[in-house]
Symmetry: C2
Subunit: 270 residues, 2 copies
Amino acid sequence: MLLNGQPANAISLQDRGLAYGDGLFESILVRNHRPVFLTEHLQRLQRGCLRLALVYDAAAVQQELATVLAMPAAANCVLKLMLTRCAGGRGYRAGTDECNRLISLHPLPDYADSQPEQGIAMFVCQQRLARQPTLAGLKHLNRLEQVLASREWPDASFHEGLMLDTAGLVIEGTRSNVFVVQAGRLQTPPLHQCGVDGVLRQVLLQHFGNTVSQTELRLEQLQQAAEIFVCNSVFGVWPVTGLLTAEQRWHYPLGDYARAAQRCFHEALQ
Amino acid sequence: MLLNGQPANAISLQDRGLAYGDGLFESILVRNHRPVFLTEHLQRLQRGCLRLALVYDAAAVQQELATVLAMPAAANCVLKLMLTRCAGGRGYRAGTDECNRLISLHPLPDYADSQPEQGIAMFVCQQRLARQPTLAGLKHLNRLEQVLASREWPDASFHEGLMLDTAGLVIEGTRSNVFVVQAGRLQTPPLHQCGVDGVLRQVLLQHFGNTVSQTELRLEQLQQAAEIFVCNSVFGVWPVTGLLTAEQRWHYPLGDYARAAQRCFHEALQ
């Protein structure tokens, strides 16, 4: 792990990332020492910096990424890049615009081939997402809603949880975005009020172009869906074949859109 | 600083407090080695633990507090007690119910006598609080809204910022609770949807008993207020003599309720 370019495994107890979640992160898939979707990850990071009034040394990050990616442990892994606001004293107001840079490598999650191939069961979480336009779309360090939602499903037969916002709209998975084929069209929820605007979500919006729309969806509408899939830039695309709601379990076929999204992801890996 | 009872000044880069803001904290005023409102702080911490499904070793915390409070640096200071969920792997779901315990000492903030005596100017922040009943009232580590709001006021002539929620209701200061004398009654906003339920707020609710009510307040209603004050358990009670809104500046007298609240706070310090 590198902290501002120096090997480290710990950070000050005074860090504002720890104290307030005052920072941003990106989890980047690395294949054969190559960071997948790096441009898109850095673009989202930059959007987050603008929103939070953070400035980071982009040249230093590029150099530190090159150093880390050359390591043997970086052949195939997840690279986590985190920025936390530098302290300028104590208290909410005391931070500067400057950032600490943290880069760490993590083993690839232990995902089976069966999830992309055969699909997953998804649990509808009780925990809602608050509507906060200022923070919507960003991958910031305030993630208690996802933590609480992730603890809801009972066992490993579920691979993801679906989250609604406090207005009852379907938004995303706890660590993924959701696409739904409904009324003959590919749709994904808009993320102006809450949710993380995933890198693979953006790639798929580009890929599908006019055939996909950003549309508000309620849970009831998912009962009629022809197809559902979730995506993130590390695991790719998982078809959703079962959705467990408070009242019942809905089933979905593996569909053509999920397969097309998987092909798009696999092409990016090459 | 103590981390799980051992001297430390750093925490693992893998800590879930840093990664997700997955934890709670209390900032406790210490006078003559005595933690003020300790019972109330620990009660709020316990409410937070119930909500977040965290369990901490209360006996260890008591012992560590006794150790730290006996130190010369703990004569008059702010003691920060933080709990972060122990990691059980990587990802939102991988945490356990167990906590890391962090205790640190900080110098008393450099507050002048003039703020309680002569009152403060308060800035009405643009940054809103999201409505999230699950997290409302808690002092958790997801504090980006407060960080962003605290950066809004232009200079040190303001000592606090007033925050509204996304529905336009007055909720709190960035680091304090707010009381308003309006229509002849002492009122403070309810905190079911958002806001931090301050220790001194609870003490004052008890102190004023039937003469105070928890009432929804809109910004416009503050123009007619006879008196406004903010409070927290470290700085006590500050009368608000000026409130800067987007359009104009409203002025308020120093009032009897603020003085009564100050007496209540000072009695607790004895």
